[in-house]
Symmetry: C2
Subunit: 506 residues, 2 copies
């Protein structure tokens, strides 16, 4: 989930300054239009210490009209607060209609820290998140616009940042012992944060995961998202909208009728998670042959053990056309006992499948305990091809992320190991493979006009993959992005990861 | 919550037969119109054993076209089912688009029984309910119509019914040992059921609590609700709608532009929960004087203890105009230490209050620990006057029930004892009191033109009170319906109940 916020996106100073000039004007204008209306706005900041939460709040206060802004930060509850139910102080702090309230360390802080310090069980933590979800839904039902920014840094970057802050005499006061304690529990913190975001990111109160490492990038993302959300809610009042619109930072809109790309979209497109892969990775044939055999042996041993213990394995293969899914799957299956595995190729749904919820066709293919199921394409079609090709409307594919997350969580709770691969090749490599296919009498059947058409939407697919990873790569069902320009390397990786995952679960 | 299903509503045979003839035709017609569309219908039955779940399913199968009906009942999971995630069997059993699926003992059964037998903690139970809510939301987002009927019997009625079934040689096989075991745990069962219904009754998948004691009444309610739900979803297709519409059984629509009342509404109106009160209750002055003093003494002692232990008390007074709220409140406050209590009269909201969510004004009046707060009218205005007078649109007041439930739950979790009174007088008694007020130079200021106008909507208010009790009378915040034609009796009752509640919580 957080890997997409660790790409190191940056914004150049001159680009930033020209963008900010426009953005500030638009934010001020939106504030003016909010005034007198029935919409309160709640902007909440969460995330890692040192990722720029307070800096961003300061900046927004500088950019906007402070008369219409309310800043709220919450410390340890006072005696007065402890004597009331926990949400009392949050209710009283709500901005009135027409105003924007900025909330730091608000209702998410205590449950998150309590979970990190094991003062809450998983079920208790979820029950507190459920209460928060109810609170936010209550506000949204009343017309509130709610935006939540998760300011992220990876463990190393956080350490660097906390060290830098504590070395500077001007900022050292901001780094407390508690923050270092939290840092030492980074992994637990992120595990709890992942669950928190999954359970509470909903259409009426979405979380935006923001890479906090570059000050200009993170400020631009937060400002842009806020402006977009205000713009959307102000639209119905009939006030003419500014022509410039911006897609969401981690969920950019890529429908055919795309709006002019904003600077944030352009940056995200130029630095997608796929661009972080080292596409030069390769293995010579001889080394690959040995490595494949070795990994197949490991996988076979783990699979036998898993079968004996009723642990199942699900492998999901997604990737560009001609990325080598079929070849990789064959290397996997030849390592498995044929009685225990099944390949489920996902093509167009049957009549029976079309007459039900789109997840029904995947539920029905779940195997018994101790089996291996290989999905050649999968439920992710909803947020890839159906999204990009406009086969599903946005309201359908945009809620598929949480539906999928819930589906995979149920599998993993039932002792099913889930491994998801995206086989990545470059656009050039794909073209080469298409041409080879076209020239080969044995392979030309594989190539259709659709394949060439899909290439034209490469950028849209890339954004869709980026959002898919952001929203559905979880601890219990992680995405593995495999550089697959070299088939040898990709096949060994696929085998190694499957064997690792299964061995790790036993 | 369940008291409204214990009134013993009945339908006469001839009325039933003429209603059913129309209903069956409409249900068949709705099935025909569903066919070929994108809407699957899920009808789920839960509730108390012996309250008519299976009889109702049989009946619906008789009434409707069985080719478009799918019946599902779930037993202990098979080996095949146990090897998949728990929801696998429910997913596979879903009806296709255009069909109706009837579910008995489905996804709610196991969590409920596990909670009753203490195999689940409260938090674990809620986390399973949350999973169910996610499942149902996923289906509803895909267009499914979901109706859930809770077939209810009180403890005595259930015993009688189980005994009758087991004595008849033709039905004795239907009563198992397990059902008697469940009966012995009746109170726990109902406590868990209350939480279950609160957490999972939502607009897109509502629960209907049905009095199961009269076969004709319960069949009519279930059939009518199903027909109404189908009618509502089929409407947008442009097929002309039958002119006859029916309000919900436990949530009858009472807006000014009310549709012609259905038989179910008429029965519910004639037998509302308020009609079950014994309005002849009275106390002579001398006895009342002693009793008031006695109860005031009890309340005072409990209040002192509560204050010392930081336990708060909230008393909510609602009732008809001139029902005697003021007098009752004065009897309460004279028993309390003036440093600890506060009366909050609820009239029109201030500007500041109007600029925020309607619950904000009540949150702000929460006292510190160990205090007593008396609300003279309350947050229930939303579902009483604002509903009946059309001051809040239906979408606002209809979600207020769950918002209120959540609010009160937070209070009660924070060691605040909540007691809610509805002071009930008859329409005749109110007229008498109005006339007395009009004639009295000291009281005529209390009487406004509004008071006379409100009387005209007596029936609408009565239905609103009935639904309010059904939806918000909970174990932690029960409604007490007080016969108040006799002021003496009402005042003693109010004091006694407050003293009991506080003593019980200490």
């Amino acid at each position: 989930m957080f890997e997409v916020a660790e790409i190191g996106r940056k914004v150049a100073k001159d680009v930033y300054e020209s963008e900010i000039a426009k953005l500030r004007w638009e934010l001020l204008d939106a504030q003016r239009r909010l005034d007198g209306g029935r919409t309160p706005v709640i902007v909440l900041f969460g995330g890692v210490d040192g990722a720029g939460k307070s800096e961003t709040v300061h900046l927004l206060n500088e950019w906007m009209d402070p008369r219409y802004l309310i800043n709220r930060a919450f410390d340890v509850p006072s005696e007065d607060e402890r004597e009331r139910p926990p949400f009392w102080r949050y209710w009283l702090a709500l901005p009135p209609y027409g105003r924007i309230g900025m909330f730091m360390s608000a209702w998410y802080s205590q449950p998150l820290l309590d979970r990190v310090h094991r003062d809450l069980t998983g079920a208790e933590f979820e029950s507190q998140l459920e209460r928060i979800a109810t609170f936010e839904r209550t506000l949204a039902d009343d017309g509130a616009v709610i935006l939540k920014f998760w300011m992220h840094l990876d463990k190393k970057a956080q350490k660097k940042r906390l060290t830098a802050l504590s070395k500077d005499p001007l900022t050292s006061w901001r780094v407390t012992k508690k923050q270092w304690e939290n840092w030492r529990r980074y992994d637990r913190f992120m595990a709890a944060a992942e669950r928190l975001i999954q359970m509470t990111s909903v259409a009426h109160a979405p979380w935006f995961i923001v890479d906090g490492s570059d000050e200009r990038y993170r400020s631009l993302v937060v400002g842009t998202e806020l402006q977009r959300a205000l713009d959307r809610v102000l639209e119905p009042e009939g006030v003419p909208k500014p022509s410039r619109k911006r897609p969401r930072a981690i969920a950019p809109v890529t429908r055919p009728s795309a709006e002019p790309a904003s600077i944030v979209t352009r940056i995200d497109q130029e630095h997608s998670i796929l661009d972080t892969l080292d596409m030069t990775k390769a293995l010579p044939d001889a080394a690959a042959k040995t490595a494949v055999l070795e990994q197949q042996g490991r996988l076979n041993r783990s699979q036998r053990k898993a079968t004996a213990r009723d642990v199942s394995l699900i492998l999901v293969f997604e990737g560009w056309d001609a990325a080598g899914k079929g070849g990789a799957i064959r290397r996997v299956t030849s390592a498995l006992d044929p009685r225990v595995y099944r390949i489920v190729p996902i093509a167009a749904p049957t009549d029976e499948e079309r007459a039900r919820h789109y997840l029904w066709r995947f539920w029905r293919h779940l195997s018994r305990a101790g089996r291996v199921t290989i999905f050649d394409r999968s439920w992710y079609g909803r947020v890839l091809v159906e999204r990009v090709e406009g086969l599903a409307p946005e309201r359908d594919w945009s809620r598929a992320y949480s539906e999928i997350e819930d589906f995979e969580r149920q599998l993993s709770e039932h002792r099913i190991v889930i491994v998801k691969y995206w086989l990545h090749i470059t656009k050039q490599e794909q073209e080469k493979r298409f041409n080879e296919r076209a020239a080969s009498p044995y392979k030309s059947w594989k190539l259709t006009a659709d394949d060439w058409r899909n290439r034209e939407k490469w950028d849209a697919y890339e954004l869709a993959v980026n959002e898919m990873v952001a929203r559905t790569s979880t601890r219990h069902a992680p995405w593995h992005l495999i550089p697959a320009n070299d088939k040898n390397f990709a096949r060994v990786e696929v085998l190694r990861i499957a064997a690792d995952a299964l061995a790790g679960a036993l």
